[in-house]
Amino acid sequence: MGIRIISPGLATTVQDLGRPGYYHLGIPLSGGMDRFALRAANLLVGNDPGAAVLEAVFLGPQIAFTRDSMVAVTGAELPPKVDGVARETWSAFAVKAGQVLSFDFLKGGARAYIAISGGIDVPLVLGSRSTYALGALGGHEGRKLAAGDELRLGAPGRSVKEGRKVMPELRRLPSAPVELRVLTGLYWHRITDQSGRDFFADTWKVAPEADRIGYRFRGGRPLAFVPRTPPFGAGSDPSNIVDACYPYGSIQIPGGTEPIVLHRDAVSGGGYFMLGTVISADMDLIGQLQPHTPARFAAVDMAAALAARRGRAALIGKLGASLG
């Protein structure tokens, strides 16, 4: 035994670094939406960086511990409490058997990562412990946690000292307005040049329909499409294509009105045109966006995307070195 869920929060799921290899059958990667924060939480408590943790969105769970553990909470600013006494985020703290971990209200960001020494020991499904709720797969019974759920913990790894912290410069939360860098492409040619400029000039806002599958944005000008005769099988709407694969991070705009950026639990394909893809280095940031956050999209080229990717890898290296 390890932990028992007293109250689950809004949508708390078990996640690790994901389940690659089955996207061609419609089973997405899943895993933590903010992978950097997930790694940091694990390293703080002495776990492998990809051990299974709890991802809590907007509202924290209440958890009773039945084993002495080291715990860390990273990502969103969701202040933890042990038996009602405040603890810091981005740092390791002890929770003893019999104590209760709870949370104060969200102060910033959207998703907190709760790592516990030993990791959450749910069964591996197709190589991962991540929850893919839409497919009722992985995690704890393929779903978000509910009151009364009991989860086992793995054997603790390295023992670490209480009070270890992630350096402040490595704690990443999005600014407002957040800037999401985009490589244009895919079906970019479907919209007019003017609409292409408008898309990047407008300030959008995160819509309430934002979850692990995708983040919807609204508030920008509707797009105008280049006229065409619909290709056979595509459908009559100008935003339709013959159903195709959707890259992670791809931006589809059904009907030309509200962009949706697909995330870790992406639908793997469908019949809407996409105008480009958010670069891999900015995917973590999306997972920390609250509804109504203003957002701008910024066009970059491949060289800039790769430079950002190297920058992010350097941060992960620094994190590992400082907590190694």
Partner: protein, 306 residues
């Protein structure tokens, strides 16, 4: 409003060049053809098979779709431009291969006009093109069938190709194996539903589908099957090897059920007695193109073992 579409019997044309695009720094998206056809699907299969066999370093995932495909790759292992060059080098491989496929044909029992999709479609009527009729009545009318029964006879009268698996776990996209002039076409709902019963038999554009899980959806709903096609809980015998039944290249033949037969089939599934009718078969695109209907009758004989 009926689907506006290009001339429904446009003549066969030569294969267009493939269109390549980066999907961020981790994907290359390749459009084999802008429009759907079995030829485009077979070119997609050939080139994705060539990618798999070529063992290009840095390839993480190969995802074939109806008339396009996507490669996920690790740009730390191979530069995006080098990956692009490798893929372009394989394009000619698709042209040279004979379109012959060792595959399976699978019979899927369907209760058309079932009460569950009916309840759901009534709940979302204001999102439909024609709220005064059901989805199947609407599809029958806009495809010029005299009756719903005639529509069902056409829907279940020829096999369908699984030309893509995805959207959600294990969901097959199905392409009707008849001449383009006879293919059923129907627009998607004006606004997607937030609910679709699990195992709904749907249709959008020229594609049929089976919803593998309950959830949102925009396709017209014609009926429901009791036959599990996705089993993350490992309870179904014939899905024990892998939790999702379908692979691109499978063929499906619908079998209309009466309500009594459907209820019996549900009981069989629940008792673990249900075994799908499934046969191995070799499909030749050239042979099929010579005589669609004759070839489909042959497939029917393979399916029923006579």
């Amino acid at each position: 409003m009926p689907q506006s579409s290009p001339p429904r019997s446009s003549p066969p044309r030569s294969s267009p060049p493939m269109r390549y695009s980066f999907g961020g720094d981790e994907h290359i998206f390749v459009e084999v053809d802008e429009e759907m056809s079995l030829e485009a699907f077979f070119r997609t299969l050939s080139v994705t098979n060539a990618v798999r066999e070529s063992k290009i370093r840095g390839v993480a995932e190969i995802c074939p779709a109806n008339a396009s495909f996507q490669i996920k790759f690790d740009p730390d292992a191979i530069s995006p431009d080098d990956m692009l060059g490798e893929l372009k080098g394989l394009e000619s491989a698709a042209a040279g291969t004979e379109a012959v496929l060792k595959t399976r044909i699978i019979e899927i029992p369907v209760l058309y006009n079932d009460p569950w999709t009916h309840e759901t479609l009534m709940r979302f009527r204001e999102r439909h093109q024609d709220p005064s009729v059901t989805d199947i009545e609407y599809a029958a009318r806009i495809n010029d069938f005299a009756s719903v029964d005639a529509f069902i006879a056409a829907h279940s009268g020829s096999p369908w190709f699984v030309t893509m698996v995805g959207f959600v776990a294990g969901l097959p996209f199905l392409y009707q194996m008849v001449d383009r002039t006879r293919q059923i076409e129907a627009p998607k709902y004006l606004r997607p539903r937030t609910d679709t019963p699990k195992l709904t038999v749907g249709h959008g554009g020229c594609f049929g589908c089976i919803y593998s899980v309950r959830g949102a959806g925009g396709y017209q709903m014609f009926g429901i099957t009791q036959m599990p096609i996705y089993d993350p809980r490992h309870e179904i015998g014939y899905l024990s090897e892998f939790m999702a039944l379908f692979r691109p290249g499978d063929m499906v033949k619908w079998k209309p059920l009466t309500r009594e037969a459907y209820d019996q089939a549900v009981a069989d599934v629940d008792a673990g007695r249900f075994q799908p009718l499934m046969r191995d078969v070799t499909f030749s695109l050239a042979e099929f193109q010579k005589d669609n209907d004759g070839y489909n009758r042959k497939l029917d004989r393979v399916l029923h073992g006579h």
